[in-house]
Amino acid sequence: MNDQNPTVSALTVASLLVDTEPYLSCDDCFERMDQYVERRLADRHHDDLEMTTHLAGCGVCAEEADALEALLREDAQ
Protein backbone atom coordinates (compact mmCIF):
# COMPACT_ATOMS: atom_id res chain seq x y z
CA MET A 1 0.00 0.00 0.00
CA ASN A 2 1.16 3.54 -0.64
CA ASP A 3 2.01 4.99 2.77
CA GLN A 4 2.59 8.47 1.36
CA ASN A 5 -1.05 8.83 0.41
CA PRO A 6 -3.10 6.40 2.47
CA THR A 7 -6.45 7.49 1.10
CA VAL A 8 -8.89 6.02 -1.40
CA SER A 9 -11.33 7.62 -3.78
CA ALA A 10 -15.09 7.71 -3.43
CA LEU A 11 -15.11 5.48 -6.54
CA THR A 12 -13.24 2.78 -4.63
CA VAL A 13 -15.69 3.05 -1.75
CA ALA A 14 -18.54 2.64 -4.26
CA SER A 15 -16.85 -0.42 -5.82
CA LEU A 16 -16.79 -2.06 -2.38
CA LEU A 17 -20.53 -1.61 -2.06
CA VAL A 18 -21.71 -2.83 -5.47
CA ASP A 19 -24.73 -5.09 -5.11
CA THR A 20 -23.70 -8.29 -6.92
CA GLU A 21 -26.91 -10.16 -6.20
CA PRO A 22 -28.05 -12.23 -8.18
CA TYR A 23 -24.77 -14.10 -8.00
CA LEU A 24 -23.07 -15.43 -11.10
CA SER A 25 -19.60 -17.02 -11.09
CA CYS A 26 -16.80 -15.92 -13.41
CA ASP A 27 -16.94 -19.33 -15.12
CA ASP A 28 -20.67 -19.00 -15.76
CA CYS A 29 -20.12 -15.45 -17.02
CA PHE A 30 -17.53 -16.77 -19.48
CA GLU A 31 -19.89 -19.55 -20.50
CA ARG A 32 -22.61 -17.06 -21.44
CA MET A 33 -20.42 -14.25 -22.72
CA ASP A 34 -20.51 -15.10 -26.46
CA GLN A 35 -24.29 -15.31 -26.59
CA TYR A 36 -24.71 -12.23 -24.37
CA VAL A 37 -22.41 -10.07 -26.50
CA GLU A 38 -24.02 -11.18 -29.78
CA ARG A 39 -27.47 -10.40 -28.44
CA ARG A 40 -26.33 -7.01 -27.14
CA LEU A 41 -24.95 -6.21 -30.58
CA ALA A 42 -28.21 -7.21 -32.25
CA ASP A 43 -30.33 -5.31 -29.72
CA ARG A 44 -28.67 -2.76 -27.46
CA HIS A 45 -31.61 -3.02 -25.06
CA HIS A 46 -31.04 -6.75 -24.58
CA ASP A 47 -30.54 -7.47 -20.90
CA ASP A 48 -29.53 -10.43 -18.81
CA LEU A 49 -29.67 -9.41 -15.15
CA GLU A 50 -27.17 -11.98 -13.92
CA MET A 51 -24.68 -11.03 -16.63
CA THR A 52 -25.01 -7.25 -16.20
CA THR A 53 -24.76 -7.63 -12.43
CA HIS A 54 -21.61 -9.74 -12.70
CA LEU A 55 -20.03 -7.41 -15.24
CA ALA A 56 -20.75 -4.42 -12.95
CA GLY A 57 -18.87 -6.13 -10.14
CA CYS A 58 -16.04 -7.98 -11.89
CA GLY A 59 -13.55 -5.77 -13.71
CA VAL A 60 -11.69 -8.47 -15.61
CA CYS A 61 -14.83 -10.19 -16.95
CA ALA A 62 -16.21 -6.77 -17.93
CA GLU A 63 -13.03 -5.97 -19.81
CA GLU A 64 -13.22 -9.31 -21.66
CA ALA A 65 -16.84 -8.73 -22.63
CA ASP A 66 -15.94 -5.24 -23.90
CA ALA A 67 -13.05 -6.69 -25.91
CA LEU A 68 -15.26 -9.36 -27.46
CA GLU A 69 -17.89 -6.80 -28.38
CA ALA A 70 -15.29 -4.48 -29.90
CA LEU A 71 -13.77 -7.33 -31.90
CA LEU A 72 -17.16 -8.37 -33.26
CA ARG A 73 -17.94 -4.78 -34.18
CA GLU A 74 -14.66 -4.54 -36.04
CA ASP A 75 -15.40 -7.86 -37.74
CA ALA A 76 -18.78 -6.65 -38.93
CA GLN A 77 -17.26 -3.66 -40.76
Binding site: L16, L17, C26, D34, Q35, L72
Partner: protein, 218 residues
Protein backbone atom coordinates in the same frame (compact mmCIF):
# COMPACT_ATOMS: atom_id res chain seq x y z
CA UNK B 1 -8.96 -37.93 -33.93
CA UNK B 2 -12.68 -38.36 -34.03
CA UNK B 3 -15.33 -35.97 -35.24
CA UNK B 4 -17.12 -34.26 -32.40
CA UNK B 5 -20.83 -34.84 -31.95
CA UNK B 6 -22.74 -31.57 -31.91
CA UNK B 7 -24.82 -31.08 -28.77
CA UNK B 8 -28.46 -30.43 -29.67
CA UNK B 9 -29.28 -27.17 -27.91
CA UNK B 10 -32.32 -26.38 -30.02
CA UNK B 11 -31.41 -22.70 -29.67
CA UNK B 12 -30.04 -20.91 -32.71
CA UNK B 13 -29.65 -22.53 -36.10
CA UNK B 14 -25.97 -22.82 -36.97
CA UNK B 15 -24.78 -20.90 -39.99
CA UNK B 16 -23.17 -22.68 -42.94
CA UNK B 17 -19.79 -21.56 -41.61
CA UNK B 18 -20.54 -23.07 -38.22
CA UNK B 19 -21.55 -26.34 -39.82
CA UNK B 20 -18.30 -26.38 -41.80
CA UNK B 21 -16.26 -25.86 -38.63
CA UNK B 22 -18.22 -28.51 -36.88
CA UNK B 23 -17.94 -31.04 -39.64
CA UNK B 24 -14.21 -30.77 -40.19
CA UNK B 25 -12.60 -29.90 -36.86
CA UNK B 26 -11.12 -32.97 -35.28
CA UNK B 27 -10.99 -34.96 -38.53
CA UNK B 28 -7.61 -36.45 -39.36
CA UNK B 29 -7.72 -35.55 -43.06
CA UNK B 30 -6.75 -32.53 -45.19
CA UNK B 31 -10.07 -30.78 -44.51
CA UNK B 32 -9.62 -31.38 -40.78
CA UNK B 33 -6.07 -30.05 -40.84
CA UNK B 34 -7.21 -26.99 -42.77
CA UNK B 35 -10.00 -26.38 -40.25
CA UNK B 36 -7.45 -26.62 -37.42
CA UNK B 37 -5.17 -24.10 -39.13
CA UNK B 38 -8.13 -21.76 -39.68
CA UNK B 39 -9.11 -22.10 -36.05
CA UNK B 40 -5.61 -21.16 -34.95
CA UNK B 41 -5.73 -18.12 -37.24
CA UNK B 42 -9.05 -17.12 -35.72
CA UNK B 43 -7.67 -17.44 -32.20
CA UNK B 44 -4.56 -15.51 -33.12
CA UNK B 45 -6.72 -12.73 -34.47
CA UNK B 46 -8.57 -12.50 -31.12
CA UNK B 47 -5.44 -12.83 -28.98
CA UNK B 48 -3.59 -10.17 -31.03
CA UNK B 49 -6.58 -7.88 -30.76
CA UNK B 50 -6.69 -8.24 -26.98
CA UNK B 51 -2.94 -8.06 -26.43
CA UNK B 52 -2.75 -4.79 -28.37
CA UNK B 53 -5.82 -3.49 -26.59
CA UNK B 54 -4.03 -4.07 -23.26
CA UNK B 55 -0.71 -2.82 -24.62
CA UNK B 56 -0.40 -0.09 -21.98
CA UNK B 57 -0.01 -2.74 -19.29
CA UNK B 58 3.31 -3.75 -20.90
CA UNK B 59 5.26 -0.49 -21.21
CA UNK B 60 8.64 -2.25 -21.37
CA UNK B 61 7.75 -4.73 -24.14
CA UNK B 62 8.55 -4.13 -27.80
CA UNK B 63 6.26 -5.09 -30.69
CA UNK B 64 7.91 -8.50 -31.18
CA UNK B 65 7.47 -9.38 -27.52
CA UNK B 66 3.85 -8.30 -27.59
CA UNK B 67 3.27 -10.44 -30.65
CA UNK B 68 5.02 -13.43 -29.04
CA UNK B 69 2.60 -13.11 -26.17
CA UNK B 70 -0.32 -13.15 -28.64
CA UNK B 71 1.08 -16.27 -30.33
CA UNK B 72 1.48 -18.06 -27.02
CA UNK B 73 -2.03 -17.06 -25.96
CA UNK B 74 -3.44 -18.34 -29.28
CA UNK B 75 -1.70 -21.69 -28.74
CA UNK B 76 -3.15 -21.93 -25.21
CA UNK B 77 -6.56 -20.91 -26.49
CA UNK B 78 -6.43 -23.61 -29.20
CA UNK B 79 -5.89 -26.28 -26.56
CA UNK B 80 -8.79 -24.87 -24.51
CA UNK B 81 -11.13 -24.67 -27.52
CA UNK B 82 -10.41 -28.24 -28.60
CA UNK B 83 -11.02 -29.45 -25.07
CA UNK B 84 -14.31 -27.53 -24.84
CA UNK B 85 -15.48 -28.31 -28.37
CA UNK B 86 -17.97 -30.98 -27.26
CA UNK B 87 -19.73 -28.35 -25.13
CA UNK B 88 -20.30 -25.90 -28.01
CA UNK B 89 -24.06 -25.74 -28.38
CA UNK B 90 -24.46 -23.22 -31.17
CA UNK B 91 -25.94 -20.54 -28.90
CA UNK B 92 -23.66 -18.08 -30.66
CA UNK B 93 -21.72 -18.25 -33.90
CA UNK B 94 -18.76 -20.58 -33.68
CA UNK B 95 -16.35 -17.74 -34.43
CA UNK B 96 -17.74 -15.65 -31.55
CA UNK B 97 -17.49 -18.64 -29.24
CA UNK B 98 -13.88 -19.25 -30.29
CA UNK B 99 -12.94 -15.55 -30.06
CA UNK B 100 -13.78 -15.43 -26.39
CA UNK B 101 -11.12 -18.08 -25.68
CA UNK B 102 -8.52 -16.05 -27.57
CA UNK B 103 -9.47 -12.93 -25.61
CA UNK B 104 -9.43 -14.78 -22.28
CA UNK B 105 -6.02 -16.33 -22.79
CA UNK B 106 -4.52 -13.12 -24.15
CA UNK B 107 -5.80 -11.12 -21.17
CA UNK B 108 -4.46 -13.67 -18.71
CA UNK B 109 -1.07 -13.64 -20.48
CA UNK B 110 -0.80 -9.84 -20.52
CA UNK B 111 -1.82 -9.40 -16.89
CA UNK B 112 0.46 -12.19 -15.78
CA UNK B 113 3.36 -10.61 -17.67
CA UNK B 114 2.56 -7.14 -16.34
CA UNK B 115 2.61 -8.36 -12.73
CA UNK B 116 5.47 -10.83 -13.12
CA UNK B 117 8.00 -8.79 -11.19
CA UNK B 118 5.55 -6.87 -9.05
CA UNK B 119 4.79 -7.70 -5.49
CA UNK B 120 1.08 -8.34 -5.01
CA UNK B 121 0.00 -6.18 -2.08
CA UNK B 122 -2.19 -7.89 0.50
CA UNK B 123 -3.17 -5.13 2.92
CA UNK B 124 -5.46 -5.83 5.85
CA UNK B 125 -6.60 -2.31 6.63
CA UNK B 126 -8.66 0.10 4.61
CA UNK B 127 -7.41 3.69 4.23
CA UNK B 128 -9.85 6.54 4.72
CA UNK B 129 -11.32 8.44 1.80
CA UNK B 130 -9.52 11.39 0.20
CA UNK B 131 -11.23 14.62 1.26
CA UNK B 132 -13.41 16.12 -1.47
CA UNK B 133 -13.50 19.89 -2.11
CA UNK B 134 -16.91 20.88 -0.75
CA UNK B 135 -17.45 20.64 3.03
CA UNK B 136 -20.77 18.81 2.63
CA UNK B 137 -19.25 16.27 0.26
CA UNK B 138 -16.26 15.93 2.58
CA UNK B 139 -18.36 15.04 5.56
CA UNK B 140 -20.67 12.71 3.61
CA UNK B 141 -17.83 10.91 1.85
CA UNK B 142 -15.77 10.79 5.04
CA UNK B 143 -18.70 9.35 6.99
CA UNK B 144 -19.30 6.64 4.37
CA UNK B 145 -15.59 5.89 4.16
CA UNK B 146 -15.37 5.59 7.95
CA UNK B 147 -18.37 3.26 8.00
CA UNK B 148 -16.81 1.10 5.26
CA UNK B 149 -13.49 1.14 7.13
CA UNK B 150 -15.19 -0.09 10.32
CA UNK B 151 -17.28 -2.71 8.51
CA UNK B 152 -14.20 -4.09 6.73
CA UNK B 153 -12.45 -4.38 10.09
CA UNK B 154 -15.33 -5.98 11.96
CA UNK B 155 -17.61 -7.77 9.49
CA UNK B 156 -15.22 -9.59 7.16
CA UNK B 157 -13.13 -12.69 7.69
CA UNK B 158 -9.37 -12.15 7.34
CA UNK B 159 -9.51 -13.91 3.94
CA UNK B 160 -12.40 -11.77 2.68
CA UNK B 161 -10.59 -8.66 3.91
CA UNK B 162 -7.38 -9.51 2.05
CA UNK B 163 -9.24 -10.41 -1.15
CA UNK B 164 -11.42 -7.30 -1.15
CA UNK B 165 -8.57 -4.90 -0.41
CA UNK B 166 -6.20 -6.46 -2.93
CA UNK B 167 -8.82 -6.49 -5.72
CA UNK B 168 -10.59 -3.19 -5.13
CA UNK B 169 -8.14 -0.94 -3.31
CA UNK B 170 -4.85 -2.16 -4.74
CA UNK B 171 -6.37 -3.01 -8.15
CA UNK B 172 -4.70 -6.41 -8.41
CA UNK B 173 -6.38 -8.25 -11.34
CA UNK B 174 -8.45 -11.20 -10.14
CA UNK B 175 -6.55 -13.79 -12.20
CA UNK B 176 -3.18 -12.48 -10.96
CA UNK B 177 -4.37 -12.64 -7.36
CA UNK B 178 -5.77 -16.15 -7.90
CA UNK B 179 -2.43 -17.26 -9.24
CA UNK B 180 -0.47 -15.78 -6.33
CA UNK B 181 -2.82 -17.20 -3.71
CA UNK B 182 -3.06 -20.62 -5.36
CA UNK B 183 -6.79 -19.99 -5.72
CA UNK B 184 -9.17 -19.60 -8.66
CA UNK B 185 -10.96 -16.67 -10.25
CA UNK B 186 -14.28 -18.24 -9.25
CA UNK B 187 -13.29 -18.69 -5.61
CA UNK B 188 -12.01 -15.11 -5.30
CA UNK B 189 -15.07 -13.64 -6.96
CA UNK B 190 -17.28 -15.62 -4.55
CA UNK B 191 -15.27 -14.26 -1.60
CA UNK B 192 -15.65 -10.76 -3.04
CA UNK B 193 -19.39 -11.25 -3.56
CA UNK B 194 -19.90 -12.51 0.01
CA UNK B 195 -17.78 -9.68 1.42
CA UNK B 196 -19.75 -7.04 -0.47
CA UNK B 197 -23.00 -8.53 0.81
CA UNK B 198 -21.70 -8.35 4.39
CA UNK B 199 -20.51 -4.77 3.96
CA UNK B 200 -23.80 -3.72 2.41
CA UNK B 201 -25.84 -5.37 5.15
CA UNK B 202 -23.75 -3.69 7.87
CA UNK B 203 -24.02 -0.25 6.24
CA UNK B 204 -27.73 -0.61 5.59
CA UNK B 205 -28.21 -1.61 9.25
CA UNK B 206 -26.22 1.44 10.44
CA UNK B 207 -28.14 3.77 8.11
CA UNK B 208 -25.04 4.63 6.07
CA UNK B 209 -26.40 2.98 2.92
CA UNK B 210 -29.90 2.95 1.46
CA UNK B 211 -31.59 -0.43 1.23
CA UNK B 212 -31.86 -1.51 -2.42
CA UNK B 213 -34.95 -0.44 -4.27
CA UNK B 214 -36.84 -3.21 -6.06
CA UNK B 215 -34.50 -4.80 -8.57
CA UNK B 216 -35.44 -5.06 -12.20
CA UNK B 217 -36.81 -8.38 -13.26
CA UNK B 218 -34.75 -10.22 -15.88
Amino acid sequence: MTTVERADSGVDTPTDDDTAWWTHLGQDDPAGHAAMASLHELLLRASRYQVWRLRDLLPGADAAQVDDLAQQAADDALVAVLRKLPTFEGRSRFTTWAFKFGILHAGVAVRSQAWRHREVPLPDTFPLVDPAPSPAAVSEAAQLSRAVHDAIATQLTPHQRRVVLALLVEDVPIDVLADRLGSSRNALYKALHDARQRLRQALIASGDLDAPSTRRTP
